[in-house]
Symmetry: C2
Subunit: 195 residues, 2 copies
DNA sequence: AACTTACTTGAATGATCATTCAAGTACTTT
DNA sequence: AAAGTACTTGAATGATCATTCAAGTAAGTT
């Protein structure tokens, strides 16, 4: 047996960058060979086809975002503080002009939504897992007295996720930084409000 | 002079449907000739190229959404009631499987965002106008005593718009109808909350 | 009715696309 | 060191793409 010469993670992260810059459809195999450094034959050998490379990239994206998420919420702060830092981080991503800071899951979901059922299923499953992780942090904040325990945890989780989706799209309209920050603050306030 | 034989509005609405179904990139000229009933030469004569057809479709979309918006808010109800009906309508669109009920502006914005500056400019300008129209209705609701007048009208407008963007993306993950309705209700509640 | 003008038609064009595959290369095993 | 195995290479392939344009057709004008 002979080992593949390329670093799989590095290749997938390069592919992610390419897909984020142009979207799946507009990213040509030529773009992908340039971005990854792999020749067409190697890509097809390792990932079957362009769609397979997208699926593998989505999986790598999930792993990367998972460990990023854990870094935010493993801190010894209260859950509500970590949540605020996490939202601040997302706002800073939204304000960045670097396309690589966008969310591959929502980008791909918007583009391929009704076209490819399997890709959609994979994306939805990742997003749902993420939503549950956020809900778990909200539950923690409820137990720590920062959010009313009488509120529906799952509903609050969906509300935050909806808000983050909204922030990402809103950011495409080039709002002022302070406006985006204000929206994120409002979102968190509404979650915590005692009503 | 000889008049063109096709109905411009009808052609543009067919093009909108095609773009909404597949996205701009994946919609081929063949798709567009089939959808509009026009031959390639006629499309190029009338709209210059595929991109020109998109721009014309975006303009028609703006006109159509404008009159739709006016229908919702010309009613003799209180502004807050109209706003609720409008949100209900958007939720019902989100729940529909008909791709034609999606928003062409946000769909195109997500797809072409950083690729075509002029298209982005056009889309952002339409979305900003829409946001201002919503803010105007919020101002009305404030004057009618349904929303605290001390709140920043523009901020509330942005918040509702962010929420609608979020609802649209969230809907792609196939949530239950009641969950989406609950999110829209929460959005309106948070706007009206007295804090 | 003849002419001019402008729209319609749809096959042709050249570019670009994803994908293939046979030849080349390097690692592993014997 | 020789043989076998699997990865790499990149030009070739056929499909599909947006776009063009010359011929055809119908309306308006004289």
């Amino acid at each position: 047996m002979r080992q593949a010469e390329f670093d799989r993670q590095q290749v997938l992260r390069s592919a992610m960058t390419a897909f984020l810059a142009k979207g799946y459809s507009k990213t040509s195999m030529q773009d992908l060979t340039k971005a990854t450094g792999l020749h067409p034959g190697s890509i097809y050998c390792a990932f079957e086809n362009k769609r397979g490379l997208l699926l593998a990239s989505l999986e790598q994206y999930r792993l990367d975002r998972n460990s990023e998420f854990e870094q935010f919420f493993d801190a010894d702060n209260k859950a509500i503080i970590n949540l605020k830092h996490y939202l601040d981080f997302i706002v800073s991503q939204c304000l960045s002009c670097d396309t690589n800071q966008a969310c591959l899951l929502t980008k791909a979901l918007n583009e391929i939504a009704e076209q490819d059922e399997e890709v959609q299923q994979v994306i939805c499953s990742h997003l749902t897992t993420w939503q549950q992780a956020i809900a778990a942090q909200i539950a923690l904040a409820q137990s720590q007295g920062d959010i009313s325990p009488s509120k529906d945890t799952e509903h609050l989780g969906r509300y935050i996720v909806m808000g983050i989706y909204g922030l990402r799209t809103f950011a495409h309209t080039h709002p002022k930084a302070c406006e985006l920050e204000q929206l994120a603050d409002q979102l968190l306030k509404d979650i915590c409000a005692n009503r």
